[in-house]
Symmetry: C2
Subunit: 357 residues, 2 copies
Amino acid sequence: MRELSLEDIEALAVGAWVLGTGGGGSPYLGLLNMRQLYGEGHRVQLMDPDALADDDMVAVVSNMGAPLVGQERLTDAANIARAVTLMQEYLGKSFRGIMSVEIGGNNGVQPLMAAALTGKPVVDADAMGRAYPEAQMTSFAVGDLRPWPLTLVDPRGVEGIVAKVPTWKWMERLSRKMCVEVGSTAATCKAPRTGAEVKRWGIPRTTTQAINLGIAIRRAQREHRDPIEAILQNEDGRLLFRGKVADVARRTTEGFLRGTTRLDGLDAWRGSTMEIAFQNEWAVAWQDGTPRVMTPDLICVLDTVSGEAIGTETLRYGQRVTVIALRAPPVFLTPRGLEFVGPRAFGYDLDFRSVFS
Amino acid sequence: MRELSLEDIEALAVGAWVLGTGGGGSPYLGLLNMRQLYGEGHRVQLMDPDALADDDMVAVVSNMGAPLVGQERLTDAANIARAVTLMQEYLGKSFRGIMSVEIGGNNGVQPLMAAALTGKPVVDADAMGRAYPEAQMTSFAVGDLRPWPLTLVDPRGVEGIVAKVPTWKWMERLSRKMCVEVGSTAATCKAPRTGAEVKRWGIPRTTTQAINLGIAIRRAQREHRDPIEAILQNEDGRLLFRGKVADVARRTTEGFLRGTTRLDGLDAWRGSTMEIAFQNEWAVAWQDGTPRVMTPDLICVLDTVSGEAIGTETLRYGQRVTVIALRAPPVFLTPRGLEFVGPRAFGYDLDFRSVFS
């Protein structure tokens, strides 16, 4: 257990945005919340998952919905904290700690906001190692853990509970429709996990991973080294493409932000084109019509100069961007894992081929 | 408290279908359930609302959704009983009795099915005195009672709870989307009511009213008298139109069955046309282009020969039908009542004028 400094949290926001692979929402508003909460004297403890007792109960939080909506409906720490306390009331039990379902984007910061307001520690783990758009795209679903219950909170005073579902896909369907009805964004507390479940099926120490990644990027920026090179070294990633955003087609639909972008190549990629399809997160990228990289490999679109991540909601015409790939957690590379997060789970009739294989 | 006979329930099915004003779903499948439950030895007690203690808790049930779907997804008593027991688990309290939110159509029979399986009595009251399509169209909403919580059950094992909402309209919005996602039909247990609330704001003795109406219709049929005349006498209603169904336009949308029908006049109405718009229930009828009768007056479309009700989902080309109006419960005739169930609440820019005024 260690106390997170505000510097840790600033780095977390930078690193989690890279791991968000375009989704999870910009961490900027979560960071503003954390600066304010730290200014008021709140502090957050980070707890290693191995420190959990097997029968501890862990809250699994995320903000759900279409990232673009987050630019109008701003982040308020009280919402995610209420999703957690509503779940405690429903269960009649108290949580030992709070973790994120996804370390990527603003959802890497969500458990910190809930932790600051409830006084509980953040568990250093998530269930994606990145961000994914749908409820069944988690290591917990791959592990066939119980998908229910879920609590959902909207700041106008709407509170819903999915009490039971037969499958993870039904959890996604029902909670997504509730989310859409309150404006395609909602604070949620997913199915609670035991300490044993987190230790067996959680992706461990991804908060620390995101903090370290953010520190590496910030240090490279300060020292006028290439921050993208720092990311690739830190995460053992692959450089895939460099170019200029030539087109973005984007629509908020069914509770998701969907679309495609086209990049015209620069430098070594001049004359070449990359097209990337997204559903909240970058899903599949084609170079000159041929699949180049696909989920579950992490596709990260970065500002070529600053090395900072660009989200599917903030990408715009004319930006100079660099596309890299990072490694997926091993749990998603099994045949069962690929059923949940491989290209076919996103509707693409492609066999998964990793850029790292 | 008296035990309902199977003859009472057969009559209830006939009378509730008339009071359904086209909606609430055909009571036929509920009746089949009750015949089977009575065959297995179950019995249902009917309890006068005045016998409730002020702090008794009463379950308020209904099947929610688009009536047309009920012709494919058949009625099973276990679903509505589960909505009640889920609510008991959520509240941590036991119900004294079970009432319907609407006496009209199959929802007049729903509390009997839940009562048979849980052993609790049916409270002789509802909150509409008929059927209405939306959650906020109740005497409880007019009385500004608390709209939450609600439990929703789908037989595939989907169970949802609306834990809190700021307004009745939000209850309608969120529960409707959940209902649509499970197929536009779901068993629900609405916001529980205290005995004091039922006595103050419930529409009393509508189960008895529907049974007596059904008995009157059946007796007229047996004695070869005009059953429609029997309804008009029994309920002090008005004969409005007689004709033949010339057209039906019907669509299942947003969890409702919406559309219009056109009737070509017969007998005294030959040469005249009636058009009726519906949202689950008959809402407004125009004779030769002029509004003739509108909600909250009960608009009932009956088979001209048998006098039995025809639902918005069973109306079809060529049927000989008679349109009558019955009186709305007084609670809906106040300015506040009309805000919830007057023609403007259904989107028609009409001032309410009752055929009884």
